[in-house]
């Protein structure tokens, strides 16, 4: 019984996810995160949501959608109009945005669902353009024309929600525990809950309460590690329970003690991030509305919360009857139809869910920027969303995250960086990274060969501009290095292995450079005239994408098929020796 369920409830250790989440929670506090980068993180988060929503249509159901920005825009406009004209608090417009975007998707895609491949693609492009032109022309006089709409509200909460209430938090933890299946490791669930609770604290707490934050994170980490250890040792249920109770008690104690010291300071720390309005009474309950200010950090946690919600939801959909039906349609529509699957309906549901969720992203967008204008929802945005999905790997949730890093974050970081970014100590670091990378990656290969090749590539990259003294020639250098790289790879018939490493080395270098926020080597920027990496950004991105798709057609992190856990077959109608051999349990 439970083995069968394992298929659906994938037996994963949530270690990875929790680690990633912990990193994401801590991100705004890292030294290299200034205001603009936090803001970028919020923007990227919205694109992660868009990528995940488009992934339903493109990745799961295998349909083309190059007009996704229209549904994103529908959500944003719905939120802005309701907020500005009707004074509805902006997060409360989410259900309406879901209905508008999802409903529009159903109406608009129904007649074209029988189209295949490129035809569907063309029609969806048309939809995107129709939307943009319509809002530019101020349809019904409510979209504000080409200037768009100004003054959409920022998110508001009643104050009690933001006050640290240990009781609520414990309830969340308890609920998570009860919801979790027995076999998936209760300790891990607790660990996750601890991290979530940390987020709950961070949002209101003026965020300068680093000590508490650290304590919570540490507790979460302890819970996670304890869970992993217990699971790998197959600890008995009783031991697990004892550890659990211990963690909970410690956690509860910590939160209660923490809350004591915090409540005194909350008014002070909240001012920085929130507008606290006068209390009002609704239905006999007094509450104080608290609105976000312009600062990006509260938004960061809001969007992060939505991303977590989206990822959990998408994963559940993926592992459900509906999710499988999408895969069947994607793999072979006729066979799916012949298995009794109403392919038209299944595709329609994919469009409806994907578009509705893009609408939610639109609401977040409107609440973040408070300005909604047609140019934010043009064809290029649709292409970026599509590229996020395809680049990362169609149907893959981590792929969407990586794709967003590549399509949204990296270009912005390049814009952020000084125009001289490519020369700042690039030489030594890139060469070292390449050599190291090649050596580690091909541990069986002879070291000298790897060094020679790495050096050759790096030389091709750096020599032209250095010899000729013209930094603009770095572009030539890049091209030469690429040619050399492909040539070497061809010679060794290992094409697929080399380029990702160069990309990886460059990315690592970029991140190190940006994180350090300064120069790692001699500054060659003096006397550089007119060359700006920004000017070449789109071209370089294009080249990178073409190469990427040649080398990894399934995306950077392709979707993986998962099997079911070892099966205990109940009442085998015919004993099959191999199946019997698999009768191990978890």
């Amino acid at each position: 019984m439970d083995q069968a369920l394992k298929y659906v409830r994938r037996p994963s250790s949530h270690l990875w996810e929790i680690g990633l989440l912990a990193l994401a929670l801590a991100l705004p506090y890292m030294s290299f995160m200034d205001r603009s980068r936090t803001s970028l993180a919020v923007f990227a988060g919205i694109y992660v949501m868009l990528g995940l929503s488009l992934n339903v249509i493109v990745g799961y159901a295998g349909l083309f959608q190059l007009g996704h920005a229209a549904f994103f825009g529908l959500g944003a406009y719905t939120a802005a109009i309701l907020s500005i004209d009707y004074g509805i608090t902006i997060l409360a417009t989410i259900p309406i945005a879901i209905l508008v975007a999802g409903g529009a998707a159903v109406l608009v895609t129904k007649p074209i669902l029988h189209l295949r491949g490129d035809y569907l693609c063309i029609v969806t492009i048309a939809f995107g353009e129709i939307f943009r032109i319509a809002v530019t022309n101020n349809v019904f006089g409510i979209t504000g024309g080409s200037n768009g709409l100004f003054g959409a509200g920022r998110p508001e909460f009643p104050l009690p929600w933001l006050e640290p209430v240990p009781a609520i938090m414990l309830a969340i933890i308890l609920a998570l525990h009860l919801l979790g299946t027995r076999k998936s490791g209760p300790v891990l669930q607790w660990g996750g809950a601890a991290v979530i609770a940390t987020a709950y604290y961070l949002l209101p707490l003026g965020l300068d309460r680093k000590p508490l934050f650290v304590v919570s994170m540490a507790m979460g980490a302890v819970a996670v590690i304890a869970g992993a250890v217990l699971r790998s040792n197959r600890a008995s249920a009783r031991v697990q329970m004892i550890v659990l109770v211990g963690i909970v008690l410690a956690f509860a104690l910590g939160t209660v003690l923490g809350a004591e010291t915090i409540t005194g300071e909350i008014a002070y720390s909240m001012d920085e991030y929130f507008n606290v309005d006068d209390p009002t009474t609704i239905l006999g309950v007094e509450f104080t509305p608290v609105a976000f200010k312009r600062d990006a950090r509260p938004y960061y946690y809001l969007v992060l919360g939505f991303i977590v919600l989206t990822v959990v939801g998408m994963r559940r959909l993926q592992n459900s009857r509906l999710g499988r039906a999408w895969l069947y349609v994607r793999e072979d529509q006729l066979a799916a139809e012949a298995m009794g699957i109403d392919t038209t309906q299944i595709k329609l549901i994919a469009f409806a869910i994907g578009s509705a969720w893009a609408g939610v992203a639109g609401v977040l967008y409107a609440s973040r920027f408070t300005v909604v204008a047609p140019e934010s929802f043009n064809f290029l945005q649709s292409v970026i969303m599509f590229s996020i999905v395809v680049l990362g790997g169609s149907g893959s949730i981590p792929g969407v995250l990586v794709g967003t890093l590549g399509m949204v974050v990296l270009p912005e970081l390049l814009r952020d960086a000084a125009p001289t970014f490519m020369y700042e100590g690039a030489g030594p670091v890139v060469i070292l990274a390449l050599i190291l990378g090649f050596y580690l990656y091909h541990a069986q290969d002879r070291l000298p060969a790897a060094v020679l090749e790495s050096a050759a590539i790096a030389a091709a990259f750096f020599l032209p501009p250095l010899l000729l003294g013209e930094p603009a020639l770095y572009v030539v250098g890049i091209l030469m290095a690429l040619v050399m790289l492909i040539a070497i790879a061809r010679l060794r018939r290992r094409t697929a292995r080399y380029l990702p490493w160069v990309a990886g080395a460059l990315a690592v270098y970029t991140i190190v450079l940006l994180a350090a926020g300064g120069s790692l080597g001699p500054d060659l920027s003096d006397g550089v005239s007119g060359f700006r990496i920004m000017d070449w950004r789109d071209g370089l991105m294009g080249v990178a994408m073409v190469l990427m798709m040649m080398l990894r057609p399934a995306g950077l992190i392709p979707e993986r098929r998962r099997g079911i856990a070892p099966v205990t077959v109940e009442q085998p109608s015919e004993p099959i020796p191999t199946a019997a051999r698999q009768q191990t349990t978890v």
Binding site: A4, R316, R321, L334, A336, A338, M339, G340, A579
Partner: protein, 293 residues
Amino acid sequence: MALLEVHSLSKDFGGLRAIDGLSFSLSPGEILSIIGPNGAGKTTVFNVITGIYPATTGTVVFDGQPLVETHERRSERVLRRLLTSLGGWIPKLPELILARLGMAPILRPHDVVERGIARTFQTIRLFPRLTVLENVMAGEHHRGRAGALGALLRLPSERDEERRIVERAIQRLEFIGLADKLNEIAHNLAYGDQRRLEIARALATDPKLLVLDEPAAGLNEAEGLALMETIRRIRDKGVTILLIEHDMKVVMGISDRIIVLDDGTKIADGTPIEIQQDANVIAAYLGEEEVEV
């Protein structure tokens, strides 16, 4: 009563008449083979019955219900077309209107599956990049009820349903003998296993009638024998079988009755022994040579 009744069925592709006034019937529990030279219209018959192509004229009755009905007035045809285009906007409404007017419903292949006809394809059409188990689970889909909300909230009903789907799929795989490969990716399977998987997938829809399009194509002799055994076991479970096959060993070995098609028309209908001795068949289908058994 016959499970499947085909009356003067015809299908035109442009000027080409692929099936011409074909009539036959199939009793429950029978194994009926359709044979004929290439291009005789065998697969077209299958495609019309399973709703992939609309028929030009003729009727098909399955299990007492009309499956294909074509002798209708022009106005009826226009109405049907209108209702078809309305179909997705307002689900179930077209069916209701047609039922009110006493007309046959608009059946798409998935509706036919729900009526109890499952099929395999001449060229294997598995879901190649999915696992063996996932392939079989496809057949269970149409009996499920869980939707997006159930999946998102993981309602108890959805959980139970998923569990049942997996269990039943595993049972099918045991029946067909692929249970030990359920985690493998379908296109990595050996050819014979892919054929069997396709049959398991069709069986997973719980059909009354199983339509097999050249299941023995590409199988070696041992695999062919195993296939015959499998088909018999499926029949013993109470599933009626309609078979297109070129492999005469298989056809003669398991058929209760054989229909011979040539140029879209039926030229013979009888037991394997009768067919082997039928002069028309020998002339049209087997040429001058003697029938191989």
